[in-house]
Symmetry: C2
Subunit: 195 residues, 2 copies
């Protein structure tokens, strides 16, 4: 119970983050003003500075939270009996997790160049950690002979790009259910790695 006063503070904080994420995703960090965010939240511009020291911190916090959730969720996946099963789990996890957070995914990729160098380095390290996890799965699969790949590093890049691409076209309620999309992509991934 650290917070003593009225309970609005916490929801204002969450609302600011939600609005900022939506606007950054829609128009881009540099194109969105603090005034615009404040207006959509329903407060005055100055009020935002009670919740964030500046605009840059707001962006960084959103990206760090997203990447942190991604890595936590990845770490929480159940263990798998073999690399191929783990690759299927990763494929379905990636699609499901990313499609449910399209704004955060978009911002975390597109706004990297608007981060100050120190902030950039921290987000980039988290992203590399995620890539390394997939590369590890592929390397194990290559060792065990379950998959056949000319280059595990390039394969990891290629698969992540392919899977994240779902976000550019997938919309809930469209032609295909998300599970169907997972099935189709898993089919292509499985074949691509020669399994």
């Amino acid at each position: 119970m650290a917070r003593k006063k009225n309970s609005c503070g916490e929801t204002t904080d969450l609302r600011i983050r939600a609005v900022a994420l939506k606007l950054f995703a829609r128009h881009g960090y540099a194109a969105v003003s603090m005034r615009q965010i404040a207006q959509d939240v329903g407060v005055q511009a100055g009020t935002l500075y009670l919740y964030t020291p500046d605009k840059q911190s707001l962006l960084f916090d959103l990206m760090q939270a997203h990447m942190g959730e991604l890595l936590d969720a990845l770490a929480a996946l159940p263990p798998c009996p073999d690399p191929l099963t783990e690759l299927e789990q990763f494929t379905r996890f990636h699609i499901r997790f990313h499609s449910a957070r399209s704004d955060a995914v978009f911002v975390s990729y597109m706004e990297l160049r608007n981060l100050e160098p120190a902030n950039f380095a921290r987000i980039e390290a988290m992203r590399r950690s995620y890539e390394a996890h997939l590369e590890g799965i592929l390397a194990q699969g290559a060792s065990s002979g379950q998959v056949t790949l000319p280059d595990t590093k390039l394969a990891a890049f290629a698969l992540i790009a392919m899977l994240t691409g779902v976000n550019t076209w997938y919309r809930e309620g469209g032609r295909l259910s998300l599970v169907r999309v997972e099935d189709i992509y898993w089919d292509m991934v499985r074949k691509a790695v020669g399994a």
Copy 2:
């Protein structure tokens, strides 16, 4: 010979476009000022307006030029005896064309949201035309039985995302030559489509 005066005009025009493309790619359209562009070109800010009516037109022209070159180059590819050969040609063409123009590719994708609606529609139509070309190849391959795919539309999206992803990590003079990268990706593409 429409241009009568000194010949610097044309190179200034090209320099402005080159500088703007580089800066837009590096920092984002909204984050780059006309002053910055002018400074890098070596002219005063006002001079830019002799070559472009406004900042938005500058962005749109860069994107339209890029997409136009892409579609022209695609149309200029030699005919192929069968869909699988054509898919290999497309794969190698896509990687080669895009890796040689990373700034233009980046801008044409990332700055879509900064285009005015009418401009957006025109660029988007060109992009869809490119996707449709690949989908056509895949559909022919499915008809002829050379490829096996659960969904040609999704496969086209997936392959383009995968191939364009090369631009996020490939750097000239790195571990792998571009031809080697083409070979590796073609191997994955070929397997992914079940050929």
